[in-house]
Amino acid sequence: MGELTLGVFPSLVGSMSLDFSFKIAEAAVAKGHKVNMWLSGNAVMMAKKGQKAFKDYSHNEKKMKELIGKGMEITVCEACAEARGYHKEDTPEGMKRASMDWYLAKTVKTDRLFHIGGE
C-alpha cells in the first residue's frame, strides 16, 4: 500500500471538484492507502463548520469526518482561511491548520502527488 497526497485548490465553489477530491480520498482509503489532503485557495471553504446541508449544495463535512476517523490527515491553509474570515474556532474537529510549507513537506515522502490546481 502506498501514500497519496492530494492538494485541492478548486477555484470554483459549486464546481464539484471538492466532491471529486473527497470521493478519490474515500476510494484510496478503502484500498488501504495512506491519504493526506491539503486544502488551499477556495477549497478552504471546508474550514468553516456549521454549513447548512441544503440539497442544492455539496456537503462534504460528514464524509470528511469519516475519513479523518479512518486516518486521513487533512490540513487547511491557515492564511487562506483567515483571509476569508475563518478563524481557529470555525475549524471542524480533526482538521489541522498550517502554512503552505506543510503541503510542500508532504511531497517528500509521499508515493504520489495528485495536485488539483486548475480552474
Binding site: G2, L4, S15, M16, S17, F20, K23, I24, E26, A27, A28, A30, K31, H33, D111, R112, L113, F114, H115, I116, G117, G118, E119
Partner: protein, 99 residues
C-alpha cells in the same frame, strides 16, 4: 515519464495538453471533461481524443451526473470508477497533471 493527465473542462483554456509528451500517457476525463467522451461537435470526435499514443478513461459517476451513460461513450474511451482512478495513479502512472 508515465503521466496521468486529468481534464475537467469542456472548453479548455490551456494548451499544455497538446504539447506535453510522455512515454506512457493516460488521459482521464472527469467533471465536464466527460463531454469529450460523449459529444461529437459538428459530427466530429473531440480533438482531445486524437492525442497520439494516449489511453483514454472517463469517470462513470460524472457521465451519469450529466445525463449520459456508458453506451454513449466513444469507443476509444474506457469507462471507469473512482477506485480505478486510484489504481491508475498508484500503480500505472508515476506523475499526475490536472490541467
Amino acid at each position: 515519464m508515465k503521466l496521468a493527465v486529468f481534464l475537467s473542462d469542456w472548453r479548455r483554456t490551456e494548451d499544455s495538453f497538446e504539447r506535453i509528451k510522455a512515454d506512457k500517457m493516460g488521459v482521464v476525463l472527469v467533471g465536464n471533461g466527460i463531454y469529450h467522451a460523449v459529444v461529437k461537435e459538428n459530427g466530429k470526435d473531440s480533438p482531445v481524443l486524437s492525442k497520439a499514443g494516449a489511453s483514454f478513461y472517463v469517470l462513470s459517476d460524472d457521465l451519469e451526473t450529466r445525463g449520459y451513460t456508458a453506451a454513449q461513450v466513444n469507443s476509444k474511451v474506457k469507462v471507469i470508477g473512482y477506485g480505478d482512478i486510484v489504481d491508475l495513479i498508484m500503480n500505472d502512472y508515476e506523475k499526475t497533471a490536472w490541467l
